[in-house]
């Protein structure tokens, strides 16, 4: 077992899990809170990655982060504009933006499908240089990513408790109530999607600097992965308090990466990786209804069982 699951594997899974948790939080805002299916995630993530890589290569690893987030905001704004102003269905708006972003991403990367970050600092290499202590040298990535994600979560939690945040939550929860409460749903949806996509952009920027590379196909299937993390997280939290829900989305993302790492350790060929991911997502989605199905069957069996007293079902 010790060899099967090394500290190294868990550490890498947590690092990637933390980066992906930002995308899961992005979908948490659009999918869970706003009740909107935003399928532009794949393209937006690659956009964040491309912008992050380009800015980092030009020698500004810190600037790369707000730049990627701003790019995400722009992408989210276009998606929101199509939905709110022009009445395009949310799924279609996402797909259209996603398709368009492919070319945009290529253009950002100077019409090459691949960019490598060589010879310039990244936020990770800068962090590594802070201390030469052995523990820091082996944990600096996880600590740095943990801090970034923690700040994002705190800001998000604070924001969702403000008047604007509450309005955004109400928009997804009860559209009729929002219109009767002097809130413009077009405005709240736009703000919500901009924030959501800025987080996706941030994740892209971090993965570019983490991998020291940007690839045009990096984002493919990202929405599925993020959705899986979100579903796992939401099934953990059962819609309790907002802070718990945010924490559970993080946990869901890390848990998902751990499951994937486990699956990969079972010597599953890399070609089968997408299928494995899809199966994990499907299982995560099936789980809640499977649970209630099993519970119902057990109950039925109990009530039918002969020789039981009464039959009131309380065994």
């Amino acid at each position: 077992m010790g060899h099967f699951l090394t500290v190294q594997i868990i550490q890498t899974a947590l690092e990637i899990g933390l980066i992906y948790s930002l995308i899961a939080l992005s979908l948490f805002i659009s999918f869970s809170i706003l009740n909107i299916c935003d399928l532009s995630t794949d393209g937006c993530y690659t956009l964040g990655c491309a912008v992050g890589a380009v800015v980092t290569i030009s020698g500004h690893p810190f600037l790369a982060i707000p730049a990627s987030m701003a790019a995400g905001v722009c992408s989210g704004f276009v998606t929101a504009l199509l939905q709110t102003r022009f009445g395009v269905q949310s799924i279609l708006a996402g797909i259209i933006v996603n398709t368009g972003l492919y070319t945009v991403n290529l253009a950002v990367m100077g019409f090459s499908s691949n960019l490598s970050i060589f010879g310039t600092d990244t936020i990770f290499s800068l962090a590594k240089g802070l201390s030469s202590a052995a523990w820091w040298q082996s944990w600096y990535k996880l600590i740095l990513l943990g801090c970034i994600v923690l700040v994002v979560c705190l800001v998000l939690y604070w924001f969702l408790g403000t008047r604007l945040g509450l309005s955004i939550r109400a928009t997804g929860d009860s559209p009729a109530m929002v219109r009767a409460s002097s809130i413009n749903p077009a405005f709240t949806i736009t703000v919500g999607l901009c924030i959501s996509n800025s987080l996706t952009g941030l994740a892209g920027s971090l993965i570019a600097q983490y991998n020291k590379t940007s690839d045009i196909n990096l984002g493919t299937g990202m929405v599925t992965i993020a959705l899986a993390s979100l579903v796992i997280g939401e099934s953990l939290s059962r819609k309790r308090h907002m802070a718990v829900r945010i924490a559970c989305v993080l946990a869901g993302s890390c848990l998902y990466r751990l499951i994937v790492s486990l699956a990969l350790r079972l010597n599953i060929p890399t070609e089968a990786f997408k299928l494995v991911s899809a199966v994990i997502v499907a299982i995560a989605l099936i789980l809640p209804s499977a649970k209630s199905m099993i519970a119902l069957n057990l109950k039925k069996r109990r009530m039918k069982a002969p020789g039981q007293r009464g039959g009131n079902g309380h065994a």
Binding site: F159, G161, T162, R163, L164, L166, S167, R169, A170, D173, S174, A176, M177, V178, R179, A180, S181, S182, I183, N184, P185, K239
Partner: protein, 271 residues
């Protein structure tokens, strides 16, 4: 004062589903008036509320509030001064948000512009909400951090009533807001409505299918048929009226009998 001048509205024009919901609807409602509205199925009662609240823009005509033309003012802007309750007790509140959060979203109408959009619910506001909730007498003031989805239909409708009036609206529109509740809860919500409307002298319109209620509550009764107001009773004319009088007058004015399945049931109950 609310004025409707010659409002016309046809839905799905030029298709097989074409439906003229309002034809030449005119109405004047003085400040402090409490009008009850009855009419057949499809008479245009809810559509009239839609025109007032801005759910859609009329094809012709004008909506004036205190002399100001609000015909093309958008719905969310109008909701600053128009409160609304719907028949379905689930539509007026957000189920996954707490009672406190729901109230503070409704309370945005008061603070819009004054306080920043990044400010949070203050303790003073919580105390204010607590006080308001205790007036409902449903014990909701002790459950302020519970999600609204856990409340019963009647509790949710009472909360919606509170949310619609937490900032006193210039017009309150009640669209059969007690119809989906059980009789005891309906009576309670109706009593709360009467209290709040009378205390603060809110100009109010209430659609109901209960004829006795229509005569008992408020100061004026409107009957609608085919997208128009066919009968308008107030003052001494209304005071001595019975349900039979009302039905007779309707038949005379509209040229046909009142046809509303629920109205017939509720008058049976009333006898």
């Amino acid at each position: 004062m609310l004025e409707l001048k010659g409002i016309k509205k046809t839905f799905n024009p030029g298709t097989v589903n074409e439906k003229t919901a309002l034809r030449d609807l005119s109405l004047e409602l003085a400040d402090g008036d409490f009008a009850t509205i009855i009419g057949s199925n499809g008479a245009g009662k809810s559509t009239m509320f839609g025109a007032i609240a801005g759910t859609f823009f009329p094809d012709e005509g004008q909506v004036l509030l205190d002399g100001e033309d609000i015909t093309f003012v958008r719905e969310h802007v109008r909701s600053h001064y128009i409160g609304r309750l719907f028949q379905d007790p689930l539509t007026g509140t957000a189920p996954n948000m707490t009672i406190e959060e729901n109230l503070s979203v409704a309370y945005l109408r008061a603070s819009a512009g004054k306080k920043g959009i990044f400010s949070r619910i203050t303790r003073r506001e919580k105390e204010f909400f607590h006080e308001k909730l205790s007036l409902l007498g449903m014990g909701l003031e002790d459950r302020m951090t519970n999600p609204v989805g856990l409340l019963s239909g009647g509790q949710r409708q009472a909360l919606t009533l509170l949310m619609a009036t937490v900032v006193t609206p210039r017009i309150l529109l009640l669209d059969e807001h007690t119809a989906a509740l059980d009789p005891a809860t309906a009576a309670k919500v109706l009593e709360l409505t009467r209290q709040i409307v009378e205390e603060r002298k809110i100009t109010c319109m209430m659609v109901t299918h209960n004829m006795e209620q229509a005569l008992e509550l408020g100061s004026r009764t409107l009957m609608m048929s085919d997208g128009r107001i066919v009968f308008d009773a107030a003052g001494s004319v209304r005071d001595g009226m019975t349900v039979e009088d009302l039905l007779r007058r309707f038949a005379e004015q509209a040229g046909k009998k009142l046809n509303n399945d629920r109205i017939l049931l509720s008058t049976e109950e009333g006898k």
